[in-house]
Subunit: 245 residues, 2 copies
Amino acid sequence: MLGVAGMDIEDKAAVACSNGCESTACTHCTQRALAAKQHLFTHGDEQRYIYYVHSGCLRLYKTLGNGRRQVIGFSFAGDFIGFGIGPEFPYNAQSIGRSEVRCLPRGTFHKLALEIPRFAFRLYEATTLELAAAHDLALTIGQRNSTAAVASFLLWLSRRNERRGVAPTTISLPMPRTDIADYLGLTGETVSRTFTRLKVGGLIRVTRKRLVQLTDMPALLELAEGMGGEREAFGYADGLRRIPH
Amino acid sequence: MLGVAGMDIEDKAAVACSNGCESTACTHCTQRALAAKQHLFTHGDEQRYIYYVHSGCLRLYKTLGNGRRQVIGFSFAGDFIGFGIGPEFPYNAQSIGRSEVRCLPRGTFHKLALEIPRFAFRLYEATTLELAAAHDLALTIGQRNSTAAVASFLLWLSRRNERRGVAPTTISLPMPRTDIADYLGLTGETVSRTFTRLKVGGLIRVTRKRLVQLTDMPALLELAEGMGGEREAFGYADGLRRIPH
DNA sequence: CGACAAGTTGATACCGTTCAACCTGCGTGG
DNA sequence: CCACGCAGGTTGAACGGTATCAACTTGTCG
């Protein structure tokens, strides 16, 4: 075995890269600084590079002809963006705040993969983990109500913290509410209302708009599974009282 | 280049397999016949094999603690099931009707990948395409209304036919309405109503319950992008008249 | 400090869900 | 071969969660 089980997707990819970069890829790599809201690439752009996020955070999203937007992921520092084999990117990548990325020429990257089996295998592993994440997202969007969706989103960030040795109860949100909304298939308003319901329910504390404390993990875990209010505590399926008008 | 651009994901995987199977994998492979509704594996089962669907159709799905189900994909004859590196399957695979699968020992499969770079690379390619499909699903569930979702589902099957040289306007549905519903994040009732609306709108013809003719492709394409009824033909966003009570 | 983006809260509408009754058609067994 | 049975599918009526549109507040950055 490779002894990488339990590692983060970005960790795996980083290992994969370090293998390759040492030889060739990173000798050719360029840097790029992105301003807030600037696109790294858009849907249909030629796939020339695979990107490595050095700092900042980007949103990956797709759009419908009518303008509706689905965020399919967030890329944090240490993540790779742009795995895939098609000639064009099938989604958009946009910097949320300011960020810096490294650009690894795709050709070099793939040549390496064809030369070093372990490298290709790690690419496979990394993609496989992204796939699992995408399936989880589908489960969230399709089957969780707004409360369960927001709860599972917060828990996802919590687990991410945990794996990096950061306090799992202190969640910093680099993205605006509308991104969370478009990620979860909701609207900004609904996300906002859900935050305040979790807040008044005592499950979270919102220190600042982009900084959340998880104060009742077990309850959040239950909510995320749609088990909130088994006894329908307040007459609502998720056991949280609606804010009175 | 490898000259596989534009190939189907299952075609790619088949090539990948044929490369490997010829040497070792398939000499160890066993067959398995599944009855209707029988599970190939369930969430949490140890990942011992990678499966190749020889005949029939399976649904892949995940569930929430409260019992709600999200279908994350359908596996048709020629597809592989079970790519991934974790110790356990993160979803369930259940036969829809009767089906037959071949079981390829995971160890052999992965050893091969580490020996033959091109094989590992093809695994990477195949997973990459599955990932793109999962992102499309998220877009559908999160942003398309019931009409757009059903339209894009039919068009997906249509494109699939096209790539296999089958008439793209004749869609056979191996799965029940409830599977389509749980795939699109809807209910069986809503899918059923949407079918009849498309029917009375003249966009499809339902020959038998599981056999659909696409009679107005351009309109379906517009609907799938949420552009249906730009002029709101019937006063509804999707341009299709609701069935009066 | 001042302007504008981001976030919150409110009122209302509506799409999809839910629960229920009723068809339909396919496979099975008498 | 037909009739039965039942899963699958359709249709109906009402409810409700989330979207939508709008006003207002907050806070962040230049």
